[in-house]
């Protein structure tokens, strides 16, 4: 028996009024619009301006994380399964994802400037083969072996807002 380790990386992408790329701006604006719409279900009399107040005062308002997430899934689809921003040492995007979690960090229905959200991307599992200085040596279990039976490797240094989300030891029959 031999053992190998797989890890799942998570990337928490924060989007707020300072975000300036087109994709981020669309997520920012559309999630704010959706927040204003959905918040009215929990606060028909508009007594609470901010997300924090709503969650504190209205039972069930934490469901807004989920309810507002529908405004961003169309944009997630546009990413084609690739986690944005996180690149390997060659500067290439290398993480694939199917799973996500959207969260509202803060919001105020009266002003979009206060709106701040995060999209957590959870990568598919990768083999963690070794650590070379401050780089992780990884390989994608789904990448095909090359002609001489070697496996394409990835060299990656953990960047801000990226963490190892889960770790798993896998046992192989020799």
């Amino acid at each position: 028996m031999t053992a190998s380790t797989t890890i799942t990386l998570s990337y928490r992408k924060i989007i707020d009024a300072q975000s300036d790329k087109p994709w981020e701006k669309m997520v920012f604006e559309d999630s704010f619009t959706e927040f204003r719409m959905q918040a009215q279900s929990f606060d028909p009399l508009k007594q609470h301006r901010t997300f924090a107040e709503l969650v504190q005062q209205v039972h069930g308002a934490a469901a807004l994380h989920f309810l507002v997430s529908a405004s961003v899934t169309g944009y997630l689809r546009q990413l084609g399964g690739r986690v944005p921003d996180v690149t390997d040492n060659l500067g290439k995007l290398f993480l694939r994802f199917e799973n996500f979690r959207f969260e509202i960090i803060q919001s105020d229905r009266a002003t979009i400037q206060q709106h701040r959200v995060a999209i957590n991307f959870y990568s598919r599992p990768l083999y963690w083969l070794d650590t070379i200085h401050d780089y992780l040596l990884l390989s994608d279990p789904e990448s095909a072996p090359t002609g001489d039976d070697s496996v394409p490797a990835i060299l990656y240094r953990l960047s801000p807002f990226v963490s190892i989300h889960a770790i798993k030891k896998v046992l192989h029959e020799k």
Binding site: M26, R36, F66, S69, L90, R101, P160
Partner: protein, 242 residues
């Protein structure tokens, strides 16, 4: 023990290899506050200012405006159950209940087991982004004040009669009405025919005991529901907003 020492050793090795080259490599940054930070992030924005190789890929495909995933008429998302087509007509009371065009109508209801789509558990549990908002939909009323949805006949859960949630907004997204649609009951009704799917109707809460519908003695919240389990059901109701 073995694991801890492994991590410790790795970190120690990292420390040595890490500080020395970075101190020089990052010096040309004008806002660099010196090497004592040892590569510490001074600007924790999501756009990386860390000392890593810049992206070498062309950007794209270029993003396009995408409506909320609620916007679709078929809200089934693979949930099984008897097909149900719902036609909801919105009228405006202040205009003699005439049809209201361009109103946004959200509906949501539970699946045949009585569960809503939502984030499971607590904390940072992840969810697959396809099909996560099952049995939730949004349509805009046409010139007849109508929206149509394709779904499944809802199940039921403890303490509530069968129902569909509805939220009506004006074209700008301002709330006009948050309400619920009730179902007819009794012999030959769709509720009796579906019989709670595999659950049966033992312990079912009927409209007269439901804490939302019990005050609706005139039955204005009760839809007309026709059909059968082979061809599916057709629901129709008119809802008037202020």
């Amino acid at each position: 023990m073995e694991r801890v020492s492994f991590i410790k050793n790795s970190l120690a090795a990292l420390g040595v290899a890490f500080v020395a080259p970075l101190a020089n490599a990052c010096k040309k940054d004008s806002n660099d506050t010196g090497s004592s930070s040892g590569g510490e992030v001074t600007n924790p924005g999501t756009g990386s200012t860390d000392c890593v190789v810049a992206p070498t890929e062309t950007e794209g495909p270029f993003p396009t405006k995408s409506p909320s995933s609620y916007v679709r008429s078929d809200i089934t998302d693979g949930r099984t159950g008897y097909k149900m087509t719902a036609t909801i007509t919105i009228g405006k009371v202040s205009n003699g209940c005439a049809a209201l065009a361009n109103a946004i109508v959200d509906i949501w209801h539970c699946d045949k087991e009585g569960n809503y789509s939502e984030y499971g558990g607590t904390g940072m549990q992840s969810t697959n982004y396809t099909g996560v908002h099952f049995l939730r939909g949004r349509q805009t009323t046409d010139s007849n004040g109508q929206v149509k949805f394709t779904s499944i006949f809802p199940g039921w859960y403890q303490g509530r009669a069968t129902h569909i949630h509805v939220h009506v907004y004006d074209a700008s997204g301002n709330s006009l009405k948050v309400t619920q649609i009730a179902f007819p009951e009794g012999t030959g009704s769709a509720v009796a025919v579906v019989n709670g799917y595999s659950k049966g109707l033992s312990g079912y809460t009927y409209n007269k005991n439901d804490n939302v519908f019990s005050d609706d003695t005139a039955g204005t919240e009760i839809a007309t529901v026709t059909g059968n389990t082979t061809d599916g059901f057709t629901l129709a109701i008119k809802l008037n907003v202020p």
